[in-house]
């Protein structure tokens, strides 16, 4: 544990030093990035060793004379620690060049300070072992991430994003407070251990409250409203960290509470699967409708959180229906997807960051043909896209494969489990298809074809630190995709820490599965080489010429004629119009020779829409009605005093 704390200290030290050195920008950036990444690396190493030996380690400090701050590092914690430290490490490296031309050195320094606090608090959240410790780290995490979201507070929409995020995280925290309150109410101490011995109704309440609380952090539909605002607002490496790992702390919370409650009713599984299916499908549908590349990626976080939830839900269903294999498949799949998503999502955000950084626009339809000048960025981005679509031989496929197999185990079960598994499998399939559509859109419109505006022309991809971290992450995607064995071991260790009542998780069946995946991948790659060879032979000594694209008889094609992202997605969105109503603004076309016209479209997030209608406005109007209390007339005020007394005298 001491190593863990040294890592934390190094990280925080880096942040604090940057505050001191705010004047010498370059030096400050060097030192901050170095210390941050060093700390992350040390923590990563430590967590990995601990996870591989599946060791468990505890540390406790007295707090406020009688309470204690307790930290425990078991398999689950270290699994999440691996993800947290890994992503933060590369985000820190990435930030070195990303922030090089920031105008306000002090703000950069402050940003590094809160960045370090965020990393540290996330690490503490996943190691906290009693309620006080947990809430303490949780709230600090929310606070620091809020400051990172409003890093660029000059634009009004970022401020709105920050406000939304702030409110959502606080309300979520309040739900968790309530859940812990119930736990404390029954057990009378702040330790996590006591939760297992509560009555079932209490357990149910706790599970639901924590699900809402953690869900609002993880971005589960309909608590995800803050997410598509906050992620675009933050600097890209922060979006990478937030979307990659911070929202996963919500997932961690759900698993941890489930494990602690030791509550084997099918309801938990059903809740998670339904919530997961809804978030998954709607998330990707909304993503398809976005024009802002970072907003699009943010919605994909919602989608992947949905996939993770379905995995966990399948696991819980397996537990409740006494089906160990299914349970472990579900849990390990879900957990592995946590790791995978944190890798490819941060990779994608970094790529998007590079694009935004160089072109200065986030609008997809303003870009095009970037891959010609941004070879590395483009390639890594495509790899990330393939991974997030869950296609072999990349890492996304592995975890989805596990979840599928687990789901199919559920198909053989009785009614409710059967229905749930069908739901999970089908939504997984639909998500897969939609994600493919969405990312062919992004890749095709942003990186391929011809530049649609000046912004996208003759850009470059300078900034070695950014490229390095992207390349490494992309490599990780492929490695996990082809040789998933060791990583499955990691997640299995994490699962065995859940204490599901299965003594030691048997490895054999899962190694067979991973073996199959590797096998399939190698076959595929082999065939690919074969075909390449054929093609090579076919082209030997042939004449290769270049000319313009065949315009189907139209001789003056312009770049404006390219298919835009909006039109690409339009027909698919039509299918989902009930849940994703499309708003269109365009001039009526009139006359034989129509004038220059314009067209805008915007996909409405129904949760976002109804939040105001159903919650905010009623509350505001209610309180407005009460405002006459402060009427300004002193006679009335004295009346209140008399009233209070008279009323109270009745109770004597």
């Amino acid at each position: 544990m001491s190593q863990f704390f040294t890592a934390i200290l190094i990280i925080i030290l880096g942040g604090s030093i940057s505050l001191v050195l705010a004047r010498q920008v370059r030096l400050m950036r060097i030192i901050a990035v170095f210390l941050l990444s060093a700390g992350c690396f040390w923590g990563l190493f430590n967590a990995l060793t601990n996870l591989i030996q599946s060791g468990s380690d505890t540390a406790s400090f007295t707090y406020l004379n009688v309470f204690s701050l307790t930290f425990q590092m078991d398999g689950l914690s270290s699994f999440f620690l691996v993800a947290i430290f890994a992503v933060s490490l590369f985000a820190a490296i990435y930030s070195f060049h990303y922030l090089e031309d920031s105008q306000n050195p002090l703000r950069t320094a402050v940003h590094y300070f809160f960045f370090s606090i965020l990393i540290a608090s996330m690490a503490l959240v996943v190691t906290a072992a009693n309620m006080i410790t947990f809430m303490l780290s949780w709230e600090i995490m929310s606070l620091s991430s809020f400051f990172l979201v409003i890093y660029n507070h000059h634009s009004a929409e970022n401020r709105k994003a920050g406000f939304l995020y702030f409110v959502f995280s606080h309300v979520g925290a309040m739900f968790i407070f309530a859940a812990f309150g119930i736990a404390y109410g029954y057990s009378g101490n702040f330790g996590f251990g006591a939760m297992a011995s509560l009555p079932d109704t209490a357990k149910m309440l706790i599970f639901i409250f924590t699900f809402i609380g953690f869900g609002s952090k993880a971005g589960v539909f309909p608590f995800h409203v803050w997410l598509p605002y906050a992620h675009p607002a933050a600097p890209s490496h922060i979006s990478a960290v937030m979307s990659g790992v911070m929202i996963k702390t919500g997932i961690y919370g759900i698993i941890r509470i489930y494990a602690l409650l030791d509550f084997h009713t099918p309801v938990c599984g059903n809740i998670l699967i339904i919530a997961g299916a809804v978030s998954g499908v709607l998330g990707v549908v909304y993503a398809l409708g976005q024009h802002d590349i970072k907003r699009l990626l943010a919605y994909h976080s919602v989608e992947n959180i949905g996939i993770i939830l379905m995995g966990l839900g399948i696991g819980m269903t397996g537990v409740s229906s006494g089906n160990p294999l299914m349970a472990i498949l579900g849990f390990s799949g879900g957990l592995l997807h946590v790791l995978n998503h944190s890798i490819f999502k941060s990779l994608l955000f970094m790529g998007a960051g590079m694009v935004v950084h160089k072109t200065g626009t986030r609008s997809i339809d303003a870009l095009g043909g970037l891959i010609k000048n941004m070879k590395i960025t483009g390639t890594t981005f495509i790899i990330g896209s393939l991974a997030i679509c869950g296609l072999p031989p990349f890492n996304g496929f592995v975890s989805e494969f596990f979840i599928y197999i687990g789901g199919f185990k559920g198909v053989a079960l009785d009614k409710s489990a059967f229905v749930m598994s069908i739901l999970a499998i089908i939504s997984l399939a639909i998500i897969g298809g939609l994600a493919l559509a969405c990312f062919t859109k992004v890749v095709g419109v942003v990186f391929q074809g011809e530049p649609r505006t000046k912004a996208a022309e003759n850009v470059d991809e300078k900034g070695s630190s950014m490229l390095v971290s992207m390349v490494i992450l992309a490599a990780a995607c492929i490695v996990i995709g082809i040789f998933p064995r060791i990583f499955i071991h990691l997640s299995l260790n994490a699962v065995s820490a859940l204490g599901l009542g299965y003594a030691r998780v048997p490895l054999a069946p899962f190694e067979r599965i991973t073996g199959n995946i590797t096998f399939g991948a190698t076959i595929f790659l082999g065939v690919l080489l074969l075909v390449m060879a054929i093609r090579f032979l076919a082209y030997r000594g042939k004449s290769i010429s270049r000319s313009g694209t065949w315009g189907c008889g139209f001789t003056q094609p312009t770049v404006r004629m390219q298919y835009t992202g909006s039109s690409y997605a339009a027909s698919i969105l039509e299918l989902f119009s009930p849940v994703a109503p499309l708003e269109e603004k365009h001039l009526k076309i009139k006359g034989r020779f129509p004038v220059k016209t314009q067209y805008q479209s915007h996909v409405n997030d129904i949760a976002d829409r109804h939040l105001n209608r159903l919650i905010v406005n009623p509350v505001l109007s209610l309180f407005d009605k009460l405002r006459w209390i402060q009427h300004g007339d002193i006679h009335l005020y004295i009346g209140y005093i008399l009233l209070a007394i008279v009323l109270l005298l009745f109770f004597i």
């Binding site: 006679h635 004295i638 009346g639």
Partner: protein, 213 residues
């Protein structure tokens, strides 16, 4: 048997009605002064053993309550030379009926909970309550700031009556405290009144309603 205290107290009850009916400040001041005197002499008649110091003390109280405070208020009126109307929110007749109603209520309540220490003075408790509540009534039902101050004093008289008669214990500290405090309070209020007058050129509290949400 009719106790002498009760005779005086009956006058107090009457004065309450009068105060509700009176439309002009000077009359109101007289009433308040009278109530002050009564409130401070009642302890003489209630047979809690009275030390010499106590006697002097009570006389001081009488002087302050009966003379100084009313005089100072009167002086304020003179100084700020304002209209003598009390500007009622609730009209005079309505007020009088309220007064009657509250006297009856007070008597009824005091019947309900008979308090041993003052059981043999029938009117003491009703009078006290009447003073208290009517003071509050004036506070709520009169727009004129001075009338409100007078209402406050009337309320204090009521509490004083209760405080001095309910228990012998720590009676002087009670009296002393209330005295000091009413004095200082009234002084502060007088100063504020002057300022109000200077700022708004009136003491109508309808002008003091700007601070609100």
């Amino acid at each position: 048997m009719m106790h002498p205290v009760d005779t005086i107290l009956s006058l107090v009850l009457l004065s309450v009605l009068f105060s509700f009916g009176s439309s002009r400040l000077p009359g109101l001041i007289l009433v308040v002064g009278f109530q002050g005197i009564v409130a401070s002499i009642v302890p003489f008649f209630i047979g809690h053993g009275m030390s010499a110091g106590g006697v002097i003390f009570t006389f001081v109280t009488l002087a302050v309550r009966g003379i100084i405070i009313p005089m100072s208020i009167y002086w304020v009126i003179k100084k700020v030379a304002i209209r003598r109307e009390v500007e009622p929110i609730i009209g005079y007749h309505a007020s009088i009926f309220c007064g009657l109603g509250l006297i009856v209520a007070a008597t009824f309540i005091s019947r309900q909970l008979n308090i041993p220490t003052i059981s043999d003075y029938t009117l003491l408790f009703p009078a006290a309550i009447a003073l208290l509540v009517s003071g509050m009534f004036l506070l709520m039902a009169r727009r004129n700031a001075i009338a409100m101050v007078l209402g406050y004093i009337m309320m204090e008289n009521g509490i004083y009556l209760i405080g001095t008669t309910f228990s012998v214990r720590a009676r002087h500290i009670v009296e002393f405290g209330i005295l000091l405090d009413v004095l200082a309070g009234v002084m502060i209020m007088a100063i504020i009144l002057q300022n109000i007058k200077q700022t708004f050129d009136d003491v109508d509290t309808a002008l003091l309603r700007t601070l609100k949400d």
